[in-house]
Symmetry: C2
Subunit: 244 residues, 2 copies
Amino acid sequence: MLITSMDNPKIKEYVKLKQKKYRDITGKFIVEGMHLVLEAYKCGYIEEVILEQDEVLALDVPIIYTTKEIIHKISTLDHPVSVLALCKKVPESSFLGRRVLMLDDIQDPGNLGTIIRSAVAFDIDTVVLSPNTVDLYNPKVVRATQGMLFYVSFFRDDLVSVISKLKEDMIPIYGTHVEYGTSVFDVRDHHSYALVVGNEGSGVHENILDLCDQYLCIEMNGNVESLNVSVASSILLYELRGRR
Amino acid sequence: MLITSMDNPKIKEYVKLKQKKYRDITGKFIVEGMHLVLEAYKCGYIEEVILEQDEVLALDVPIIYTTKEIIHKISTLDHPVSVLALCKKVPESSFLGRRVLMLDDIQDPGNLGTIIRSAVAFDIDTVVLSPNTVDLYNPKVVRATQGMLFYVSFFRDDLVSVISKLKEDMIPIYGTHVEYGTSVFDVRDHHSYALVVGNEGSGVHENILDLCDQYLCIEMNGNVESLNVSVASSILLYELRGRR
């Protein structure tokens, strides 16, 4: 199908998906660029590919051909790509597993995406997003995951109730604290752990810290107050995973 | 001094500093927000503070009071802060030291800033920026460093010539390669090392890889192609630093 009018209802729908409200209502979102489109395809989440009219793409999904201008209108990038895809959201799963990452109000989309990419790299079973963590389907989050959001099990829930379930399963809960904490290097159990990382400005909430079994920190130069939250999370996950 | 006109020559100068060209000509740049202003102050790089007229700030530097609108005009933030500062650039130093980080065409400002923050945390003596690495004084870089750019020794130079100096000093040169590489965990010399990390899309240039003594990688889940470059750099620097 070729669409050349901005007023086409499909195009209007795609443009609306820049807004969280419409992603929530429809359960759909847009991925941008070949790498993300191929990851979404491999994992079976594509409903339609949106392709610049002169391009060719051999994928077994419906393809909408359209103009550069219309792709520019749908895209959130300054330098738009020639391929996008309409995807359905990844279903949430309440499965917890024994290696859990809990995100306590992460606000920056780039940080959330980068953390998810690292969570997959370091074998996290489940990522739990606190209710106020930024939307997983924000275009900047999706881009920063580099497609890894299709490979992770996750759900959004109140962290206090998740922690009580983890405690029933005897999984140690590690908080992160820049001032107090044991070096993550000294953690010896690489099979079960639940790590909580906090908001960029204010860290992990006090009421969540109170529920943690231990605080972890990263050994570093004493002049530095803290690391970027996606860097800190990734180093902690790297160490907790241990050698295989 | 109180300035309320957008046409004031000082204000025009500050606004121009959003552009690399003017930062290069003048050797000056703007930092935004209290945290960065205080770090710049501690390190002696502030020439003038630019403060919203109702605010008070007890720093021993010239203060320009101005309106919210003018601050908004100078600022690069969507939600501007109430304090900015005009700073002089940090002088480049050709000192190399024995723990060196080389950046081969890092393009994303957020990545460069985050890497510099981690370089300070993990005791890097010198950061070398390749000629095509993004400008250190790009406002997004400055923000992502969280003020750590005032604490690092750095210079911009061709990496090939820097590597030949490092080789004279018998410092091992580690390249990063996602496919081939020894786990960074197995590196035993935590006193001298030079790490090269590469561009977000294309990695380290072939001619630079050819000059490396060894390639390093990070152990991770086989389904994941790569990590975000600032995350990967930080994990490598964390491991190379070793325990203290």
